[in-house]
């Protein structure tokens, strides 16, 4: 009986003593943390994707609370609305950014960009890139082993087995930028997200001259410059035989789409412009452009 009593007493005493020590330590070494950090962290999406540039949502919320000027901070996953409400809660002014979406800029599907060799190594774009340019003859095109698909935390990317190309689901894409870093060919770009997921972009990154592009791929940009001439907003520039549509200047007028001889300019969720009947004489070469119908059908299939 005595032993039992002794044990209970010792343990109770020990417990009480430790509790006192813990209490003193907690009081003495208490770290004052802004309670707003927790609140802000709850408002953030909690994806911990690193798209903001911080290690995770906690680090981002700390930065949001502690910094005076938060206009350089933006969570691409949460978007403008949430950032505004966080800024309102903190009494600061938020950055105004229009929503973005990742865009994969290669249109060289299996039928347009024939394979010229067979690769049987490790199924990773990064590994392929250390060996050579890939199974097609184009040094810039999508390799198609989906390093970006693995990098995407939101399941917004998938490889279409029919085209062999990666496709982006704009509804799931949060523009965190993981795919931009993962692609060894630099095919992804974060572009402005238009209402109804509309988009116009040059689906090619080839800086080769036109004759080389034509040999490797039927859907590549040959740098002819027709789109640059027709663009009323000066949004299109040609550099190293490659057209680029500046998403800041583009107004989705669709004039360039009809001009492109190879269908390298992709148009998403929009109808093409009807062919203008007015300039009669020089545009008799219309039948030659029948091939333009193809890419349209292609885009329609994708959606």
């Amino acid at each position: 009986m005595n032993e039992l009593l002794l044990t209970v007493l010792t343990l109770s005493l020990l417990g009480a003593l430790l509790a006192v020590i813990l209490y003193i330590v907690a009081k003495r070494f208490h770290v004052d943390e802004d309670p707003r950090i927790d609140e802000v962290e709850k408002m953030l999406p909690g994806a911990n994707c690193g798209g903001c540039g911080f290690a995770g949502c906690r680090a981002m919320s700390e930065a949001l609370v502690t910094r005076d000027n938060i206009s350089s901070l933006f969570c691409p996953v949460a978007g403008g609305e949430v950032m505004k409400s966080i800024a309102g809660y903190l009494g600061k002014s938020a950055a105004e950014k229009s929503p973005m979406v990742a865009t994969m800029r290669c249109g060289g599907s299996c039928d347009k960009r024939p394979k010229v060799n067979h690769y049987d190594g490790a199924l990773s774009c990064a590994v392929v890139n250390t060996f050579y340019v890939g199974e097609s003859a184009c040094a810039f095109g999508c390799i198609g082993y989906g390093d970006c698909v693995h990098a995407c935390q939101f399941g917004a990317l998938h490889v279409n087995p029919e085209t062999g190309l990666v496709e982006v689901d704009p509804d799931k894409c949060t523009a965190c930028g993981a795919c931009v870093k993962a692609c060894p060919k630099g095919l992804f770009e974060l572009r402005k997200k238009w209402p109804k997921n509309r988009a116009i972009y040059v689906a090619c990154r080839s800086k080769n001259r036109g004759s080389v592009v034509m040999k490797a791929c039927k859907a590549g940009c040959i740098g002819c410059g027709k789109c640059e001439k027709v663009c009323p907003f000066g949004a299109i520039t040609i550099d190293s035989y490659l057209a680029y549509i500046d998403p800041k200047k583009c107004k989705l007028c669709r004039k360039c789409v009809n001009e492109c001889p190879t269908g390298a300019i992709h148009i998403v969720n929009m109808e093409r412009l009807a062919r203008e009947p007015k300039p009669a004489a020089p545009k008799v070469e219309a039948p030659k452009r029948e091939s333009n119908v193809e890419p349209k059908a292609d885009t329609a299939n994708k959606e």
Binding site: V116, A122, S124, V127, Y132, V133, K207
Partner: protein, 451 residues
């Protein structure tokens, strides 16, 4: 018999297809394409333009900076274009395309076949000549030779090691060079010894080339070459690696990068490079040709060609009776270190010691399994690394940890992938890790320099 202390494998050498084929001079092509990067370091700047007439041996690409190499025209004719073209791996390279008109050489090049042994030049003059001739390591690494020969202040070279190992399976270009151009090699060794001021040179040759060992030994006694000896080494891959060869010959180990072979007093040169040095110093001839092996079990004929650079691989294959039926794997180099070629119209460059053709049915990769932690790769690694771990770290993108485990030490010999019973593509991922870590290290150094 000596060899390097750790790791290594013994693949079947398959040299029987081409080792008895004497060196043949390849006929001149109608057109050559000369890439402006055929070396480690900064790409050279083309100094000719479309329409220019060039002579054989004329400088067409000027080296940029110290670690870079000059490039000379291998034929005489007219430059038809200076533009970006794909190389054998489809990557874009600046190339000078020259259309051949006759074969007119630069006047100061001595084309007589006699061996010229006397060399009264000072070390600095020899190195300057090597640099002007655009000589790079012809064993495959393409490291500019003048950089190797320029011993930094405070360090001293003690021994010159000549690499006649040719441990890579299939290839026989160095072997044929030793058999047929042995005298040139020995004079070249004397010149190199003079350039780095050493009294001792060792020619390392693997035991599977007894004829070369015998011949060079006989030539040394006959010619009275002082300080040069031939060392027979146990046949083991990758003995031709610079660090492995130094360890095999001298027993000295080099510290991890950035330490260089000179830190243990050794300078290593390939036998083919030695011939190029001889020709540059004694005959004023820049590096415009080399011996290239064309080999493979399925080829109708195998050859060892003495050929000018810039000739497309398809030319060589035509001479070898064309490509075999069905799928083939075409390698620039041998099966261990060689790079698969996807475009056979791409030109042969300085570092290409052979074209190996392996039929599709002999090459498929095995089905990838899981790592069973058998540590075969660890025993095979000649650098004492842990390939299974480095590969895993690269897959997980843990670059910092890969750096801690010395991934940059990897010499990419492929022993780990060769030995893996689970068919894991170990080297493929280690290479990514190595490249990324090296980029990180360089970025850090650049950031520190700014501060």
């Amino acid at each position: 018999m000596k060899t390097f202390p750790i790791g290594g494998i013994h693949p079947s050498d398959n040299k029987q297809w081409s080792k008895d084929r004497p060196i043949e001079v390849m006929e001149l092509p109608d057109q050559v394409a000369i890439p402006m990067i055929q070396h480690i370091g900064a790409p050279s700047t083309p100094i000719v333009k479309k329409g220019d007439k060039v002579l054989t041996g004329q400088l067409i690409g000027q080296a940029v900076g110290f670690v870079s190499a000059n490039i000379h025209s291998p034929i005489s004719g007219t430059v038809t274009s200076v533009d970006v073209y794909p190389n054998g791996q489809g990557q874009r390279r600046m190339m000078v395309v020259i259309k051949r008109e006759g074969d007119e050489w630069m006047e100061d090049i001595d084309r007589t076949p006699d061996i010229k042994r006397d060399c009264k030049l000072t070390p600095a003059e020899i190195i300057a000549k090597v640099k002007d001739a655009g000589i790079v390591g012809l064993g495959g690494a393409q490291f500019p030779t003048h950089v190797k020969l320029s011993v930094p202040d405070g360090q001293k070279a003690e021994i010159l090691i000549i690499n006649g190992v040719e441990c890579e399976p299939y290839l026989t270009s160095d072997y044929r060079n030793m058999l047929e151009r042995g005298e040139m090699i020995l004079v070249g060794v004397e010149i190199l010894m003079r350039a780095i001021s050493v009294q001792r040179a060792v020619i390392g040759i693997e035991a599977n080339k007894p004829a070369a060992v015998e011949l060079l030994k006989a030539l040394i006694t006959k010619g009275g070459y002082k300080g040069i000896e031939v060392q027979t080494l146990q046949t083991r891959y990758p003995q031709g690696g610079e660090k492995q060869l130094i360890a095999a010959v001298t027993g000295r180990q080099i510290a991890p990068p950035p330490a260089l072979p000179i830190s243990v007093g050794a300078v290593v040169c390939n036998v083919s490079t030695t011939i190029a040095v001889y020709e540059a110093v004694q005959k004023n001839k820049p590096l415009i040709e080399r011996v290239v092996t064309v080999t493979g079990k399925e080829l109708k004929e195998t050859h060892n060609f003495l050929m000018r650079f810039g000739i497309p691989a398809s030319h060589l294959l035509e001479r070898a009776g064309g490509l075999p039926e069905g799928d083939v794997k075409l390698l620039n180099g041998g099966p261990m270190m060689g790079r698969a070629v996807v475009d056979i119209t791409a030109p042969i460059i300085k570092g290409c010691s052979g074209i190996t053709v392996i039929s599709g049915k002999d090459t498929p990769r095995g089905v990838e399994g899981a790592c069973i932690k058998c540590a075969k790769c660890v025993s095979a690694c000649p650098m004492g690394l842990e390939p299974y771990l480095l590969s895993k770290l690269a897959r997980l993108q843990k670059w910092d940890m890969a750096e801690e485990h010395n991934t940059v030490d990897c010499i990419e010999c492929g022993c780990c992938s060769y030995t893996c019973p689970s068919n894991l593509p170990l080297l493929d991922y280690i290479r990514i890790g190595k490249q990324t870590v090296m980029t990180n290290i360089r970025a850090r150094a650049a950031a520190n320099n700014k501060k």
